[in-house]
Symmetry: C2
Subunit: 321 residues, 2 copies
Amino acid sequence: MGPDSSQDAQTISQVGEFGLINRVTSGRAQSPGTLLGPGDDAAVLAAPDGRVVATTDVLVEQVHFRFDWSTPHQVGRKAVAVNLSDIAAMGAVPTGLLVGLGCSPDLPTTVVDELAAGMWEEAQRVGISVVGGDMVSATSLTISVTALGDLQGREPVTRSGARPGDVVAVAGRLGWSAAGLAVLGRGFRSPVAVVGAHRVPEPPYEAGPQAAVAGATSMVDTSDGLLADLGHIAAASGVAVDVRTELVEVPQRLTEVASALGADARHWVLTGGEDQALVATFPQGRPLPEGWRPIGAVVEGEGVTVDGDAYAGPSGWEHWR
Amino acid sequence: MGPDSSQDAQTISQVGEFGLINRVTSGRAQSPGTLLGPGDDAAVLAAPDGRVVATTDVLVEQVHFRFDWSTPHQVGRKAVAVNLSDIAAMGAVPTGLLVGLGCSPDLPTTVVDELAAGMWEEAQRVGISVVGGDMVSATSLTISVTALGDLQGREPVTRSGARPGDVVAVAGRLGWSAAGLAVLGRGFRSPVAVVGAHRVPEPPYEAGPQAAVAGATSMVDTSDGLLADLGHIAAASGVAVDVRTELVEVPQRLTEVASALGADARHWVLTGGEDQALVATFPQGRPLPEGWRPIGAVVEGEGVTVDGDAYAGPSGWEHWR
């Protein structure tokens, strides 16, 4: 074997913890807000607002991703995207990432290289970097990402501020990831548009701060599915939410995929998770920011309804259930 | 079975993700610096300094802990302690924790309850709280902790500031965790003093900021072992470090345990990891803060020596090697 293929064949046990950390951090430019990057006991990030927004999501192989369905690069992007989406859902802008990686000693280093490349690509889409992390031995590949963010002087947009009369609006795609998952689950690899949406969500990062500026009263990202995540807003705010189906767009592409699979595209849109769209409530009569579309209203009561009635069907995905 | 034993027998798959999060967060008081605690897309913490210190460590069952050697409560304390120690090693004070927990669906909920109780206990020792996290399904129990901290207006104490002539000093215990590990590895459960030190380190949290105030030029915590971690300072600072054995205390208790096991107590002190002591360098002639004791000197060159010579023996522990 030549030196290149020998390099490819290396496992992380051969490279070692420090060698691996060096591989995934060296040569990467840190963002201006990174005051101290990887290589010390801890990183130091600018927190100009005097407050810091922080969130953690863990992704586990075979639970949250499968390498026969997604490349390591795609998994890396997704692991970062789901966290950046949580920062956006507070109305904040991201400032940095920490990554905890648990992986088997016999994992090829190229998998870690590609995971890291995907993470950096998604981070750079919002102008931030991976500022620190940890790499340990584990039986299943486990990716733990922490994202930090800055509120830029605004109040955080929580789940608890929705008031009766507010308009419910969404930014980003709904149902695309669920459609992709359905396609992959049947053994297909296309259409690429929906499969790609499952592999790597495209959260509307900028729509979060824009909603905060526009006076959003509550906000959440759709990780569990539109109705389930609206349920979080309804519960936290002590209100009810009614989704109007005539306002909820079902994209033609999803209708086509659903038709081919004998599935219901509207069900994907209402209940499919992992699109990382943003859902927010706005005071009635307030112009919605660009990219936001109304889908319903906040009313007195509790729970989430569709056209005034309970929605028949599963309404989200909960771990271990 | 009565209602109590039925409760005890519950697995996390029966309680569900949201039920479990509720179990470990409800009724816990958040620290004053927690502006928004668990339950939203992200937490919000005060960052009064305008910068935030951030670090992540991942602990995996059978790799970093074993439930036949440690209780879940002890593992929870340790998972938090190793992260708080990293914050202290920057000269910062901790402000909050995020916890990512991956666990098997058939894990009894009491294990998670105890893990969480241990985490909260250690957090409360420094006046902070768990402000957010994530719980997911995984094959091995995986605990990912992110700690955030505040520099209180000081510059971070990195690994790269040691200069020839500096005094090398240590705060906290050395060798105790290694002694405890050796005892447990032989199938013993006592002496409790060393076994307890392995189960739960006692990092000298306050010594970190005190060293920063006293002008420490570099600092690191001893997770890999004294000589290995001094090696990080030497490499990052472009200097050599010489440890003087006449200055390095070998506690009588460790000598007794080593004698019983046919081991070398000094070797534990010089190379044993996981005590989370703090090691720092100070300008010569500067009074050391309380609790810090000199153990050597920074000199020109590279690498770490003991009494001027290379140390014969393994010098730390690296994953996958």
